[in-house]
């Protein structure tokens, strides 16, 4: 059980907290924490 939990934690911790397709939400988060917004703009392939 513990190894599974550790693996889950590692997976969560190793991913950045991306906001998908919602500039308003990301901007509100940035303003609340006084940090800039980093944006990745992409297209499917």
């Amino acid at each position: 059980m513990i190894p599974h939990l550790m693996l889950l934690f590692a997976t969560v911790a190793l991913n950045l907290p991306w906001v998908d397709n919602d500039y308003g939400k990301a901007l509100a988060d940035a303003k609340a924490r006084h940090v800039p917004v980093f944006v990745e703009v992409w297209a499917p392939w």
Binding site: L16, N21, D29, V37, V39
Partner: protein, 367 residues
């Protein structure tokens, strides 16, 4: 990049320093964002200052995880101030570049390079940003001159490949810069440890440089080498997702070589591997068009339209109509353009406008 670079552990350490936003440029819900922050292409990265709602740094194309980590640091400096000398000049240049004031940004990048000297740790990135600013600012003479001037002395890495690539896009036919950059391109495509998308992009523009000179033999020779490189990249990619970019690019090289059949087996395999993705049938349609197999192209278009959504789906109506026109079925072509226009009206106006214009013009011509 999301699958590898953007979740690299080194970047995750900077998680708390930013709010992280991912924007699918084909998704209509992002129309307002794309209108406010128009891009010259994808992938495109921005650092936005939430206080002013303006970009303070922009970056096009790929980057390695360490390069992206430094870009993030530079984005923080551009947003918050700080730094001195060359670093401060770079931050000012980045801010102007992010706001698309390319001429002023380029002048400041040059000043930063002079202030930083040959051993400045950010030299390579600053050269890359300078050449990008000249390219997007349409100062093609400066873009080619800087690329030719700087690239030969650079470390042979991803930045080198990208700078040579952009220089080739800018260089005039039969110019001294073109000759120098072609020599560097021959070196660049052989580099190990540079991503296949970057090498493939360099092949593409290296071949295109010969089309500027109307040198068909050299264009074909480089395009065939490019196709062989892509086939190798496809063969060694570990997953269907990792193969996809090279498969899709192979279709372009194959059509350029007038050998569309070369790419067809890979596209068909990609469609089997990733059955929900509209891209393989869309690319198959392009290949079938080049082969004159219009019924197959039509069937592939229909499969792609069934899987696509938003702006991608809208663009597919143009392709489907073109297939029907090539087939000589004008009535069905008009119906497809009309169907596309009807679908386009359900999408956000600003985002859909360019494709709606194409559909309207195609409908008029098909009458």
């Amino acid at each position: 990049m999301r699958a590898n670079v953007l979740n690299d552990p080194a970047l995750v350490k900077q998680a708390r320093q930013f709010a992280w936003l991912s924007i699918d440029s084909d998704n209509p819900v992002n129309a307002a964002f794309i209108e406010k922050f128009p891009s010259e292409g994808v992938p495109f990265f921005l650092v936005i200052d939430p206080a002013t709602n303006k970009p303070v740094l922009s970056w096009y194309g790929t980057a390695t995880a360490p390069q992206l980590g430094k870009l993030l640091e530079d984005g923080l400096r551009a947003a918050n101030g700080g730094g001195s000398g060359a670093d401060a000049l770079l931050a000012q240049a980045d801010k102007l570049n992010g706001q698309k004031d390319y001429a002023k940004a380029a002048a400041l990048y040059e000043q930063a390079l002079q202030a930083g000297g040959p051993h400045w740790p950010r030299r390579s990135r600053a050269i890359e940003s300078l050449v990008m600013a000249d390219l997007f600012g349409k100062n093609h003479a400066a873009c080619a001159a800087v690329a030719a001037r700087e690239a030969s002395a650079m470390t042979r890495d991803r930045s080198f490949v990208n700078i040579v690539d952009m220089g080739l896009q800018c260089a005039e036919a039969r110019s001294q810069e073109m000759a120098e950059l072609r020599q560097l391109a021959a070196e660049g495509v052989k580099l190990r440890g540079v991503g296949s998308d970057d090498i493939s992009g360099l092949y593409d523009d290296w071949a295109a440089s010969y089309r500027k000179d109307k040198d068909e033999a050299a264009d074909t020779r480089i395009t065939e080498e490019w196709a062989a490189y892509l086939k190798q990249a496809i063969a060694t990619a570990p997953t269907p997702e990792a193969r996809m970019s090279s498969v899709l690019t192979l279709t372009i090289a194959a059509v350029r070589m007038h050998k569309p059949e070369v790419a067809l087996p890979e596209v068909e395999r990609a469609e089997r591997d990733l059955p929900d993705d509209y891209n393989p049938p869309y690319r198959a349609a392009r290949l079938y068009i080049a082969m004159g197999r219009y019924d197959d192209a039509l069937a592939a278009c229909d499969r792609a339209i069934g899987k696509a959504s938003g702006l991608a789906k809208l663009r597919l109506y143009v392709t489907r109509g073109n297939v029907l026109q090539s087939k000589g079925d004008l009535e069905a072509a008009r119906q497809t353009y009309s169907d596309g226009l009807q679908y386009g009206r359900t999408l956000p106006e600003a985002a859909a406008a360019p494709t709606i214009k194409m559909l309207s013009e195609a409908l008029d011509k098909a009458k």
